[in-house]
């Protein structure tokens, strides 16, 4: 028999992990969910963010969260550049479906290879005062290395939610994939909207990368483990819904936590694909999909 204590600990660990999963998936929910850009390189940008964070933490003792936030700015422009290449090479000519996918696949491996060449295949980690410490409420332990990413992930999802639903620009992002001519008829350039939104998506990936390396050590190819996860969260939550992304992240986190508690950590990776398949079969629009 498993004790209540054991179950509670698994639940809390899952919820904390889920907040981080939401942060990882928020940017994909923007690009894939709202812009119809199947950016499978998203996890690679997350790992890229981890290494940027690692670099300034290792050499200058920069706080990882602060590093993520600072690097979000240049990463936004990197995202803008990537979208411009993607748009001019594929989307403009209507060749995005297959060749665009290959483009992002290529980008994924390019980033991996660059990281391997630069840093090798060893695991890297960061130092911060909150890493390694924990507190407990009753018998439930809360590790700060999980709690901080949970908090930042929740804030990120909330900020994006407000941006999308309460600003003119955000509403245009929500509308642009539904009808780009209609967006023009509102006096807005749809390409500009998509470019900015994609840039924001990459910026959030880099922030998520700083969270990832707080949670645990990172190596260049670890992004592969997250492809299934980010797509599972995005689809489960409902494409383009930030509320859905948060809830989807929490569900995946809890499901993975229980799976690894009961069956061992090696099963955790299968959970995301299981959720993805069930969701596509039962409710393709996701929990909060419109």
């Amino acid at each position: 028999m498993f004790s209540i204590e054991f179950l509670l600990n698994a639940l809390v660990a899952g919820i904390l992990l889920g907040g981080f999963y939401a942060a990882m998936s928020a940017g994909l929910s923007l690009s894939f969910g709202l812009l119809d850009v199947v950016n499978i390189a998203h996890p690679a940008f997350i790992i890229f963010g981890s290494y940027l964070t690692y670099y300034v933490n290792e050499h200058f003792g920069f706080d990882p969260i602060l590093a993520g936030l600072v690097f979000a700015v240049p990463s936004y422009f990197l995202g803008v550049a990537v979208y411009k290449i993607y748009y001019n090479s594929f989307e403009k000519t209507g060749a995005e479906s297959l060749r665009g996918l290959v483009f992002f696949f290529g980008l994924f491996f390019l980033i991996e290879v660059i990281l391997i060449i630069t840093y090798g295949v060893d695991y890297r980690l960061v130092r911060a005062f909150y890493i390694g410490k924990s507190t407990s409420i009753g018998s439930v332990g809360i590790a700060y290395r999980l709690f901080v990413p949970f908090l930042v992930g929740g804030i990120l999802a909330a900020v994006l939610y407000l941006f999308l639903t309460k600003t003119f620009f955000g509403r245009a992002i929500m509308g642009v994939a539904q009808d780009s001519l209609a967006v023009q008829l509102m006096g807005v350039d749809p390409i500009r909207i998509k470019t900015v939104a994609f840039g924001i998506g990459i910026a959030t990936a880099v922030i998520a990368g700083s969270l990832l390396i707080i949670i645990g050590p990172v190596e260049p190819t670890i992004g592969r483990e997250y492809i299934g996860r980010v797509f599972a969260v995005t689809v489960l939550g409902g494409l383009g819904s930030m509320t859905g992304t948060l809830v989807g992240g929490l569900i995946l986190g809890v499901a993975e936590s229980f799976t690894s508690s009961f069956f061992g950590p090696s099963w955790a990776l299968a959970v995301s694909f299981g959720i993805l398949l069930i969701c596509l079969a039962v409710r393709p629009s996701g929990l909060f999909g419109r």
Binding site: T165, F168, R171, A172, M174, G175, Q178, D179, L181, A182, V183, Q184, L185, M186, G187, V188, D189, R290
Partner: protein
């Protein structure tokens, strides 16, 4: 070209008209318009009559910059200034104060009614009057207020048409183009939408160009009109009687 005084809805607005001069246009090898010239003067409501496939939407798309004419000129005359619309894209033309209620409505189906209206007010000039305009839209079409949190795609056809008109007006336009508001609507709804367009036109002091094939509805609102046949202007009626008396109208629209 913008007035320095703040825009008031009932106060004197500045003159805005559309001039289409000898325009030819089409889609690739398909030639649709052949030397079309029309004019919509300030404050007028002009109807563009034509049965299916004669080029009404094509002409409207040319004015809106959705397709570019091969020949001819299109101007927006604003406060005595002539602005050439050729080469401009739709968003630039919208920002000059021209709004379109497009064929097929083109709402954002997975945005709510309110979000659709708010997107309509995207342009800078429209944001200032947003509260007032949204209140006015809700007053003109109470059903939109009742359903403001409903997704646009789940509204009925008539409700969607009302939303499309209201959304176009949210951009605080000076010129309103309406492409067949009657399509797919029951006669009673057509009457209501047309009546509302007339009311809104008065309220906003709009210049209106409306493409229609429902003659009986169109004359309720039009000052005058053109009949377009196979991409050419077959007749320019100086008033609605002239239009009603024309043989083409008798033949195609009045069932004579």
């Amino acid at each position: 070209m913008r007035s320095s005084t703040t825009r008031t809805w009932k106060g004197p607005t500045l003159a805005h008209s559309i001039v289409v001069d000898n325009v030819s246009a089409g889609y690739g090898a398909v030639r649709v318009l052949h030397g079309v010239s029309i004019q919509v003067n300030d404050g007028e409501t002009v109807v563009l009559l034509g049965t299916n496939g004669n080029g009404k939407s094509t002409l409207i798309k040319c004015i809106m910059g959705i397709i570019q004419p091969d020949e001819g000129e299109i101007y927006l005359e604003a406060d005595g200034e002539r602005i050439n619309l050729a080469g401009k894209n739709p968003e630039e033309i919208v920002n000059l104060g021209v709004a379109l209620v497009p064929e097929g409505r083109r709402l954002f189906p997975r945005l709510t009614v309110e979000e659709n209206l708010l997107l309509g007010a995207y342009r800078e000039e429209a944001r200032r009057g947003i509260d007032r305009n949204i209140a006015f839209a809700f007053e003109a079409f109470p059903v939109l207020a009742e359903r403001k949190n409903q997704l646009a795609g789940s509204m009925s056809g008539g409700e969607q048409q009302m939303l499309a008109v209201a959304r176009a007006l949210m951009s605080a336009p000076k010129v309103l183009l309406v492409d067949e508001p009657s399509v797919g609507l029951a006669p009673i709804l057509v009457s209501r939408v047309i009546a509302k367009i007339r009311e809104l036109k008065e309220e906003y002091q709009l210049t209106v160009l409306m493409a229609e094939q429902n003659f009986n509805q169109a004359v309720k609102i039009a000052d005058r009109g053109y009949i377009i046949v196979h991409g050419e202007i077959a007749f320019a009626g100086e008033d609605t009687e002239a239009l009603a008396g024309h043989e083409l109208v008798k033949k195609y629209y009045l069932g004579a």
